[in-house]
């Protein structure tokens, strides 16, 4: 490896790029704007004083800036991205093209409904696919992300409990210790007390412990299935039945729906509410952390409480019910302004129509096959805390590293030098030093074989004491390990001019 120093700091195609505030200028503009017609101002006493202190860039400079930044990112299009629980699958470009049809992208959410019948038709079609795939009678499309869908589901549950007059008594929500952090955060946001349920030796909800926790103060369980250990909850129907008998509701975290789409319907498992991450299972792009979309399917018992807005059929075509006065049921309220993530609805429907019922079933099967292939190919050298088969992700712990002087973080950073985005680390919390690998169905066997061979070589290196390969990693990425403690101790959350910095000191 060349240690060659360069004048620019660039290394061949790896180009350093300053902040726009360091390269732009106030006077620069990359947009041609018309001259402003002379009119008498109607701003009242609210007109701004002084300039907006932000730099502009011409179009070529802006393009170069953002393209250079993009080259510092790992992405699915460039390589395997086995981030467990995130379902980083290929994002078909047909979906992008469809979402950009002016008939979807260039319509206003509040223009007359008669002028957007095609948009309502799309929402109705998406709802039909989601309801059919999950075997659930109702879906609230509007939640803007997975956590927002969770909130929607739990709000529907809270509304149902309130309608029964049990809000004062049903205050406890059961959440397995392996759950995503959003689950307890969501329950707490709605004023529920969170009560943990331990896992059993097989990595699943401890059925006996769960039953002991049941009582007439239990509002709901929030259970991820397949769970965050990558395992199907075998007792799920028994859990649902016992819960229902005790008067509680079953919220299922649908983050891992990719493992079962087209093969298992959550409606057959006794689920009352489940969010679906369109950005996972149905492949709308993750976009560097959003925008997501979290439609939430609801059971018969919760359907009357579905939030505004929703599409229904009427005499003059499709109608969007937007206000309480127009609703026949008892919507619990409104999650968002307007109607949710239309751009994501189009992409998801395009994805579903492309795959069809047969293709979606194959998606689940290939996702599960790929994960099991990884599990089977690595479990002799790494340590899998639970017996397989797994669902769409393979979980390992760090017990195999015991005598190596490296930890999960070091191992992950060494993967970066090998050209891989690391798996999810240190989650779920129930497994020590967890490594959660989700390959998805869009990886070829050749890609998996190279990944497996790489992982085996890293394990060998760790066991052979090649400490530098891990402790110094990453050495080949655009940056080496970053000082997160410094970032949190004295937060610098925006750029400041050298003069402003000096003045502050």
């Amino acid at each position: 490896m060349s240690e060659k120093q360069t004048f620019t700091g660039n290394r061949g195609l790896q180009l350093e790029e300053a902040l726009i505030f360091e390269i732009g200028a106030y006077e620069n503009c990359g947009v041609d704007l018309e001259d402003v017609p002379q009119v008498e101002s109607r701003l009242g006493d609210c007109a701004a004083q002084g300039n907006i202190d932000l730099p502009g860039l011409s179009e070529p400079e802006a393009m170069r800036h953002f393209v250079r930044l993009s080259q510092k990112n790992h992405a699915i299009d460039a390589g395997l991205y086995p981030l467990g629980s995130c379902t980083m699958k290929h994002n078909p470009r047909l979906n992008e093209k469809m979402a950009r049809l002016p008939g979807f992208s260039d319509i206003h959410p509040l223009q007359p409904q008669g002028t957007v019948q095609g948009a309502l038709e799309l929402m109705d079609a998406l709802a039909h696919w989601l309801k059919t795939l999950t075997g659930m009678p109702e879906v609230a499309l509007s939640p803007k992300a997975g956590a927002h869908g969770e909130l929607c589901g739990m709000m529907a549950i809270r509304a149902a409990i309130e309608a029964k007059g049990e809000l004062a008594t049903r205050t406890r929500v059961l959440v397995p210790e392996s759950a995503h952090g959003t689950n307890p955060a969501t329950a707490a946001l709605l004023g529920f007390k969170v009560d943990g349920i331990p896992a059993d030796a097989s990595g699943r909800v401890d059925l006996a412990a769960f039953k002991e926790k049941l009582g007439d103060d239990v509002a709901a369980i929030m259970l991820t299935n397949p769970n965050t250990c990558g395992l199907f909850e075998r007792d799920i129907i028994e859990i649902a039945d016992a819960l229902h008998e005790a008067g509680g509701y079953f919220y299922c975290d649908g983050a891992n729906f990719n493992a079962i789409v087209g093969r298992v319907r959550p409606g057959d498992l006794g689920v009352d509410a489940m969010h679906i991450n369109l950005h996972k299972t149905f492949s709308t792009p993750h976009g560097g952390g959003g925008p997501g979309s979290g439609p939430t399917v609801l059971s018969e018992r919760l359907a009357p409480f579905a939030p505004l807005p929703y599409v229904e059929k009427s005499e003059d075509g499709l109608r969007l019910v937007e206000n309480n006065g127009d609703a026949e049921n008892n919507p619990f309220g409104r999650m968002v302004a307007f109607h949710g993530q239309m751009g994501m609805y189009v992409r998801a429907l395009s994805y579903m129509m492309s795959h069809g019922a047969d293709g979606l079933r194959q998606v689940a099967e290939d996702a599960v096959l790929n994960a099991n292939y990884i599990l089977a190919s690595l479990k002799d050298v790494m340590s899998a805390p639970f017996e397989g088969p797994c669902m769409h992700e393979a979980l390992f712990d760090d017990s195999w590293m015991k005598d190596t002087d490296i930890d999960t973080l070091d191992f992950a950073k060494a993967m970066i030098d090998e050209g891989y985005h690391p798996m999810t680390m240190y989650f779920p919390l129930v497994v020590h030093g967890a490594m959660l690998i989700e390959p998805t169905e869009t990886e070829s066997r050749a890609a998996l074989d190279l990944f497996i061979a790489t992982m085996r070589d890293l394990v060998r290196g760790a066991k052979d004491g090649e400490i530098d390969r891990f402790k110094n990693a990453p050495e080949l990425a655009p940056r080496r390990r970053l000082d997160e403690t410094l970032a949190a101790r004295s937060p610098v959350l925006r750029w400041q001019s050298p003069e402003a910095k000096k003045a502050a000191e």
Binding site: L33, V36, P37, R42, L43, I52, D53, L54, S70, H74, I76, A78, H90, L94, P102, G103, S105, I107, H108, L110, G118, E121, L133, K144, A145, M155, R158, T182, A185, G191, I237, V264, P285, G287, G288, G289, G290, P291, S293, F332, V336, F338, M353, H355, G356, A357, G359, E365, N370, P389, K413, I416, P478, L482, D483, L486, A487, A488, V492, L493
Partner: protein, 447 residues
């Protein structure tokens, strides 16, 4: 199936490697009662052309904003987005990346988030901004919850001129959390005495600028009065372009500023995805919701960026987190940053001036239509008019003539008793011909 790389031979070989006889062996943990043999009752897979044909047919049934004189606003605005922006956000490395959990290989995302935070901070006049929220309505609702945390109080006072959907979202989130709200009746103009509604349990006052009816106001005095009562002032800005020309909420003394960033970099998209803006004071950083990107150095001392202060967040704090949010609106914040970078401060000012000028021209044109009364004295690019007829029916009649002529108040607030009030917006995307066509069509419809 073009999206699935495994061949049947691969599948057989891999099953053999795993030691499974068939794929069903991998699904043994599914309870028997829930196993399904066949496919669900939905169509089979289709090729690109077939899917494109069907979706294009649906899209073709909608009246698109760019093809007609278009004057709808009310929280979503039609602006010109430079072609460069859409190219940038479709770069694979941005589009198909995820939350920057591994900062060494996501500096691209992290750097633009840092740039985004700086731009939002500068535009709002606030010291810090987060890496974005779902949209303006949820950002505003989260701001109310944050005010409750900061002040340890539990009641919010909302302006009656807040966007009705924003009100509904706040109501939903806070009432479900056991918090109270108070809001005066909705009126298109005139003074609101929000101070009188503050009591000992009040944490914040929420106002909007420009408000739902288009009024712009200087809240400097209100901010001081609200703060003197131990409350925070939250200013919501649903049209971010207004910040190019209006006094900044931070300079007025706001404690939290929320906004809808769709106008910069985003299309109308029938209401989403959009991008929520969220800015606050330094002293409240640790009570903020959402992701924050911060500057630091790497092991070689080079500047780099990371997600920071994550001890506020759900994946660490679980039920003690400041919010349940775990993503932002990443790609929309990139579009915002790219568009804002192309504009720069000078371009942003000119864009805002253009918007205002078009709105003034529109007000002059509509004000000349018989029976139409302009209700808004001071406005930016949107104002309210009183019609001598039902506004919803008028808008439908205008649409029949190929004009999308604003949003009737009754669409969002059917109980407000404002059935004759219409909210109209003009932007740089409108021409003088559009304005003339709107005025002519309105004259015809009302006659």
């Amino acid at each position: 199936m073009r999206y699935l790389p495994l061949t049947d031979a691969d599948r057989q070989a891999m099953l053999a490697n795993i030691g499974a006889a068939n794929i069903d062996d991998l699904f043994v943990d599914v309870p028997e009662a829930a196993r399904r043999d066949g496919t669900v009752d939905l169509p089979r897979h289709q090729g690109e052309m077939q899917v494109e044909r069907q979706l294009s047919a649906m899209a073709g049934k909608n009246m698109t904003a760019s093809t007609v004189p278009f004057f709808c606003g009310a929280g979503a605005y039609k602006h010109h987005v430079p072609a460069t922006v859409d190219h940038i956000i479709q770069r694979s490395e941005f589009l198909t990346s995820y939350t920057p959990y591994q900062p060494e290989i996501t500096q691209g995302t992290l750097q633009y988030l840092f740039e985004f935070q700086t731009q939002v901070s500068e535009l709002t006049g606030m010291p810090v901004a987060n890496a974005s929220m779902y949209d303006g309505s949820t950002a505003t609702a989260e701001a109310v919850l944050m005010a409750h945390r900061v002040t340890r109080k539990s009641r919010a006072v909302l302006s009656g001129r807040l966007h009705p959907h924003y009100t509904a979202v706040i109501e939903n989130l806070t009432e479900m959390g056991g918090f109270a709200l108070v809001q005066p009746d909705m009126a298109p103009a005139g003074a609101e005495d929000l101070l009188a509604l503050i009591d000992d349990e009040t944490s914040c006052v929420v106002v909007q600028n420009p408000d739902f009816f288009g009024n712009v106001a200087d809240f400097t005095k209100l901010a001081a009065q609200v703060q003197a009562k131990g409350c925070l002032l939250i200013v919501a800005v649903p049209e971010v372009v207004s910040l190019g020309l209006l006094k900044r909420p931070g300079d007025m003394g706001a404690d939290i500023v929320t906004g809808e960033g769709q106008s910069i970099g985003g299309g109308l998209n029938f209401g989403g995805p959009y991008v929520g803006l969220f800015a606050a004071r330094d002293k409240h950083i640790r009570q903020m919701p959402g992701r924050l990107c911060g500057e630091t150095v790497d092991a070689d001392g080079q500047r780099g960026f990371v997600l920071t202060l994550s001890t506020r967040e759900q994946h660490i704090r679980r039920d003690k987190a400041t919010s349940n949010i775990c993503t932002n609106s990443g790609l929309c914040s990139l579009a915002f940053t790219a568009h804002m970078t192309l504009l720069g401060g000078k371009g942003m000012r000119q864009l805002a001036e253009l918007n205002h000028a078009r709105a003034v021209q529109l007000a002059d044109a509509l004000g000349a239509v018989k029976g139409v009364e302009i209700l808004t004295d001071a406005f930016f690019n949107e104002f309210s008019v009183k019609l001598p007829a039902n506004a919803a029916q008028t808008v439908d009649a205008l649409a029949d003539k190929g004009v999308l002529g604003g949003v009737p108040v009754s669409r969002l607030a059917p109980q407000a008793g404002l059935d004759d009030v219409l909210v109209v917006a003009a932007t740089e995307a409108n021409t003088q011909d559009d304005i003339a066509a709107f005025a002519a069509a309105l004259t015809e419809v009302l006659s």
